[in-house]
Symmetry: D5
Subunit: 96 residues, 10 copies
């Protein structure tokens, strides 16, 4: 089941740069692990912003919330979730 | 080069239903042709709305505008385009 | 799996009142059938508005879109869907 | 009498984590006590957000304000209240 | 129990002026009857707009919705309801 | 001459609680004095918010600004003023 | 007593051009009469828009509403009123 | 050439009150000097807000930016500029 | 003197296509004439929208309003004007 | 390939003025280098704001993101990117 997720990151300027760097490294590792597992299907950078559009493929709403709320940068993100379903014009079997 | 496109369709209630049906059929054929060519990578229905999120893979801005402005339902759409690039955490080689 | 759905109805003043009355009657029957099946858990009127907040319990996103897009008043509604999950403070076993 | 309440929580990053943890524990206890009393009928987590949709069943506006303003996290919440009434299509006797 | 109600009226230019005049006359009579009964405590014109701020004193949410949805101009209004309660600084015994 | 005033209070979390308590006590005394003088006709708490809707009865715009800018909590308020006049349907002689 | 008024005009495309021309001519005459009387102190065109910013000098809110609601184009305007008072830095005696 | 300028001032609560008082005094002197020169034609306080509407009469865009960016409170202001021109209904020769 | 202008075009579906085509042809001729004169420096299509960003180089506000209000499609446009001046980092002598 | 970029700068008041001055100097040098290379075609100051409208001419989305994210003031900017293409009415060969 697919969801469209927009993440806007806003790390406070007052955060210790070393702590920030560690969080960002953990975020990357966590994201890549989920991508490899197939849960996090796509992630694209929005040009000019510290933000991304992502596509998640999960069992249900609860799993999505668990994955998102465990993001290392979650406390510094504004997240917006949109449920998706197969478009009647889609030619791809796996896009639903 | 990838772009995120949101399309909201609002066909006026006054439009002749037969004309509307023809436009929708043409829209579907046009969309599927572009999907098969690889230009229109993804299209997902937004749940509960006459709207979609799509990913386009085009040569440049001009090609994207040409593809979008030729949509049979273009006069009845509100379209919003966001340029994308590869996310530094992405594990997919082709998501840029 | 639960979803929060807001529906705002705007029937055009130009619509034939008889047609409108028929649509509204069909809408009521359709809604009550879904409520009795357990798919449409709750529906509340927003005071002073031709609008409702509803809770749906469905298998997945696709089923929710199918239920919503079959609403007799769907062409005259603005719908906004929010995925829900169990709140860690909830004492109800079935609210997820 | 039912009310729809949206609560968005924003605990400042500067708050002592221990103080925050205590507030969150108190919040949970307070919420569960009200849920068991029947005043706080439902609480659902909004997926991907530190926020909830809730349904309150209270005697009147004054009681609702008293319950909300006593929330331990009240100083860190943005709350939006919508009065509800029975929907003419509802099949549930107690949803009003 | 008090509620703050904002009503914005937008009568379509295509409405027969005679029908509009009848609706406006009925609206006035209906409003004055409710004002005399004490249900509609206050009504003020917003300067420069076809809109009003009103204060209603009703038994519960259901009564408020019934009063509002019976407004002769209801189909042409955008209504926004805010529940009120006694302010801790108020010196008026009846303002709650 | 009547004005509708919405006041949203946002006391910064960093403010010394004792200073805040003193300001709130002064605010209450100031408000009650103006209410007794008839200048501040009504004040209602908006349910679930640290905010109020008020009705002021003043000589002119200048007097209203003087009263508002002297509020002890003025530096922490967002204030929105709407001029009112007698509604043609009003049955109250003093609501203008 | 001064008020800042923004007027946005939106004459429907379906209005008979001759009727529109008559309304616009009446509007101009009405505006100039009020300007000469001193009630309508200033009127400026907003560049690129069918809109104006104006300054009115009236006895009270009621007079302002009467002047505005008698505008020949009033049914086709969106009006927004802001009460003004003398700025403490102003060097003009008559700007209040 | 006239411009409509809205200035919203938001001095941070953390600013040293003495520094703030000096800035405000400089702001007043600067404003009055420009008013006397004819560059800053009008300044009005918006009732209930730390904000003003102003009219500037300048040679060109560059001069307006220079005047605004030299305001002592500029770093604490949100400024919005609207170009004006003579309204076809204006009876004042100098309002353009 | 430079201005940034955003134009959003919304030709009503009810407009006779032949009339629309004539207006669009006139619009193109008018635009190209102004571009050749140097008044309309740039015009770019916004991808996916019936809209453009343009840069005008005019004598003053009045000239800009005259040029814009004479656009053949002006009655079907939403226009937003922003005054520009030379950026201190600009290396181009003529960009002001 | 052209892009319209809006940059709003908001340097926190708490930033060391010397650090801010260094960043601003670096920003200017970086901007001028890109302007001279032809990548950053235009930059205009928005009158009355610490903001600019710019036009970039880049190979693709990725290059644009790289240029923007390397801006010395990037952490203090809100950036909004709009893809452009040649307008059918344009007379300039190089505006695409």
């Amino acid at each position: 089941m697919l969801f469209h997720v927009q993440m806007d990151v806003q790390i406070p300027h007052s955060l210790d740069p070393e702590v920030a760097a560690q969080l960002i490294a953990k975020e990357k590792a966590y994201s890549q692990e989920l991508q490899r597992s197939g849960k996090w299907r796509h992630i694209w950078r929005i040009v000019g912003e510290y933000a991304n559009y992502s596509i998640f493929d999960v069992e249900d709403n609860a799993e999505l919330h668990q994955l998102l709320s465990n993001l290392p940068l979650y406390p510094f993100m504004k997240i917006s979730v949109t449920p998706l379903c197969r478009h009647p014009s889609s030619v791809r079997e796996d896009d639903s």
